[in-house]
């Protein structure tokens, strides 16, 4: 019997084996590239720092104690605030975008292509391009000066606003795409039904569109919020003195040479995010039970 036949026979001999076989490649990659590095980091976070980077073989909780100091908790809080703001702004900007694309008829494909177009360039290049726009001698300031609007350059780059702009620009497609997927399936007859029943535009949005788009909104929020927490490029390059978690952690593995502390910071943030999701099982998961007439 050939090896292929034997594999086939094994896979079909017991229920579940075929599924296991199909999952195996993905599982291997995840174990090798996610689980093992996480374990290494978990171990690292519990050791003592080596003078020139690396770690000493001595168990210690010092890194966690330090991560919970007010200075670093403030950075964690600030990072969370940026992530929340980015998510909110993405939802605010992305909802009308997704709505228009879903209703754009034959232009739909072209517009969706434009949404994913930024992925075709490197994030680094995109970030530098934004810096070219915003810096003191950048496109915006040059234009303003040419129009006589400002005699001194406006400081746009290296401000919280610049960081927020960068984060929103980077994350927006992750909000638009899942929202588009839910809005595109929304039956227009539902809106007409609501309209005949007396619902004005705002009521149609609040009572029909928003609840039906909730799963897409939740998925988009997740896809924006989590990567933004760990964002590195934008806060590092556009943020100047505003320290966010991504830059802080990177610093520990770079110039500060404190691997245990960097690992501990990462785990503290991961713990907080997981806690957040466990506490708040909102839309996106199981649909809320049917409401009853009060």
């Amino acid at each position: 019997m050939s090896a292929r036949r034997r594999l086939l026979a094994w896979a079909t001999a017991a229920p579940g084996r075929a599924g296991a076989l199909l999952l195996a490649p993905g599982a291997l990659v995840l174990v090798a590239l996610v689980a093992i590095p996480l374990l290494i980091m978990a171990g690292t976070s519990l050791l003592e720092r080596g003078t020139y980077g690396g770690v000493e073989r001595a168990l210690s909780g010092a890194a966690y104690a330090r991560a919970l100091e007010p200075l670093y908790l403030r950075i964690l809080g600030r990072t969370a605030a940026y992530a929340v703001a980015t998510t909110a702004l993405c939802a605010l900007v992305g909802f009308p975008m997704a709505w228009c694309i879903a209703r754009a008829g034959r232009w739909r494909g072209a517009l969706l292509f434009l949404v994913v177009l930024p992925f075709w360039t490197s994030a680094l290049v995109r970030t530098y391009a934004m810096m070219f726009l915003l810096r003191d001698s950048g496109v915006v300031n040059t234009l303003l000066r040419a129009l006589g609007g400002a005699d001194r350059p406006l400081h746009l780059l290296y401000t919280p606003g610049a960081v927020l702009l960068g984060l929103v620009t980077t994350a927006l497609p992750f909000m638009v795409l899942p929202l588009y997927a839910t809005l595109e399936r929304l039956d227009p007859a539902l809106l007409e039904a609501a309209e005949v029943l007396g619902a004005r535009p705002w009521a149609r949005f609040a009572r029909v569109i928003l609840p039906l788009a909730a799963p897409g909104l939740a998925a988009g929020a997740l896809l924006v919020f989590v990567p933004t927490l760990g964002a590195l490029l934008v806060p590092d390059l556009m943020g100047g003195k505003t320290m966010l978690l991504g830059t802080l952690v990177q610093g520990q593995f770079g110039p500060a040479r404190d691997w245990p502390f960097g690992s501990a910071l990462s785990f503290v943030m991961m713990g907080l995010v997981l806690l957040g999701f466990l506490l708040r099982r909102g839309p996106g998961g199981v649909a809320a039970p049917a409401e009853r007439v009060p």
């Binding site: 007859a189 007409e192 005949v196 029943l197 004005r200 039906l212 049917a290 009060p294």
Partner: protein, 370 residues
């Protein structure tokens, strides 16, 4: 002498037109609907019946110079749907999937900001009206209901607001035959009990005949005829109406009219028949005359009854339909004629190839307008 004052129509379309881009969807359509009647818009897909309903609901507005729509005497061309106080049952019901049956039915009352206890009371009453037990079905989600139950919820959701007019878009199209018959009777009952005017869009002529007090037959964006089911079936005005409702045998020829008497239609193959001259006869010339298969009979050659029309024909086929037999015959000029005979339990007297005479009462022929 004064005619008794007719109640004002609840709906009036006065030469209403609607184009989508350069494509005309509804062309100068005029009709009036009386309070309390069931009015059917009947036609094949693309005939403009759905656009007409959407114009009435307010989802579409007539062309800038496209006539006027009146609801209870008031011009509503520019009124939004939520300002028109009418109910609508959508083709696929359009129930809100994220709301329970109760909340679906309560939706309109909540929009109108009625007090909670009034909403609760009226939702129950509306569900009972459509024969859904409120405690059983109220908390369910639409996706846990059968097609017929969804239909009832859609009806309750529209009727709970006590609209002056209920629009139904292909209301029975998604149901199977048995349920269809049941809901037809149910709709008639609701119309009788509530006295609300119903406007039904359908492509199914049988449904229109069963449901409607009056039928508007549409084709190609035009209104071809409005009348009671008997009128549109027995006196079709155009060839389109004759062909769309039931079967029709259409005979063409050159007519010579005699006001108040029988006109003569001379056929191309040399035969001729007579037909009652219409009240407003068209100019002498080419006409078409429509007949229903059940008005026609076949007799052996030479046995035409006195005073009846008789055209020579050849039997081509006999179709057994149970209640009736259809004999497909061909006239001398090659035009087809379908004759419906009552099945009287005797062997069919006609065989393929038999020579026969197609006979009918001259008063039955309906002169069509081009």
């Amino acid at each position: 002498m004064m005619a008794p004052a007719a109640p004002p129509p609840i709906v009036e379309f006065d030469r209403v037109s609607k184009h989508f881009g350069a494509t005309p969807a509804v062309r100068a359509v005029s009709f009036a609907i009386q309070p309390g009647e069931v009015f059917a818009l009947l036609g094949p897909s693309g005939c403009g019946k759905t656009t007409t309903l959407r114009l009435l609901a307010g989802f579409e507005t007539p062309d800038a110079d496209g006539g006027t729509i009146r609801l209870a005497g008031e011009v509503v061309n520019a009124r939004r749907p939520y300002e028109r106080r009418l109910g609508m049952v959508f083709q696929h019901y359009a129930l809100f999937p994220h709301l329970s049956v109760e909340r679906n039915v309560a939706f309109g009352l909540e929009q109108a900001r009625r007090p909670a206890d009034e909403i609760r009371r009226r939702v129950r009453a509306a569900l009972e009206l459509v024969r859904l037990e409120p405690d059983t079905f109220g908390p369910r989600r639409p996706d846990a209901l059968s097609g017929g139950q969804r239909q009832r919820v859609a009806l309750a959701r529209a009727l709970v607001l006590e609209p002056r007019l209920l629009l139904l878009d292909e209301p029975l199209g998604a149901l199977d035959l048995q349920l269809r018959k049941e809901m037809q009777l149910e709709l008639k009952r609701l119309n009788r009990e509530l006295g609300i005017t119903f406007v039904v869009v359908t492509h199914d002529q049988a449904e229109a005949l069963v449901l409607a007090d009056r039928i508007a037959v549409m084709g190609g964006g035009r209104l071809h005829q409005v009348g009671t089911p008997a009128e549109v079936y027995e006196q079709p005005r155009t060839r389109f109406v004759a062909g769309f409702l039931g079967e029709a045998v259409v005979l063409a020829g050159r007519a010579a009219w005699r006001p108040g008497g029988l006109g003569t239609v001379q056929r191309a193959d040399g035969s001729a028949f007579t037909v009652a001259t219409p009240a407003a006869p068209p100019a002498d010339g080419e006409v078409e005359v429509a007949l229903r298969p059940e008005w026609l009979d076949l007799v052996p050659p030479g046995q035409a009854p006195a005073g009846e029309n008789a055209l020579p024909a050849t039997v081509e086929d006999v179709i057994y339909l149970g209640e009736t037999l259809h004999v497909l015959a061909r006239l001398a000029d090659g035009s087809p004629a379908r004759v419906a005979l009552r099945n009287e339990g005797r062997p069919v007297p006609w065989r393929r190839g038999d020579a026969a005479l197609l006979v009918w009462d001259p008063a039955d022929g309906q002169v069509l307008v081009p």
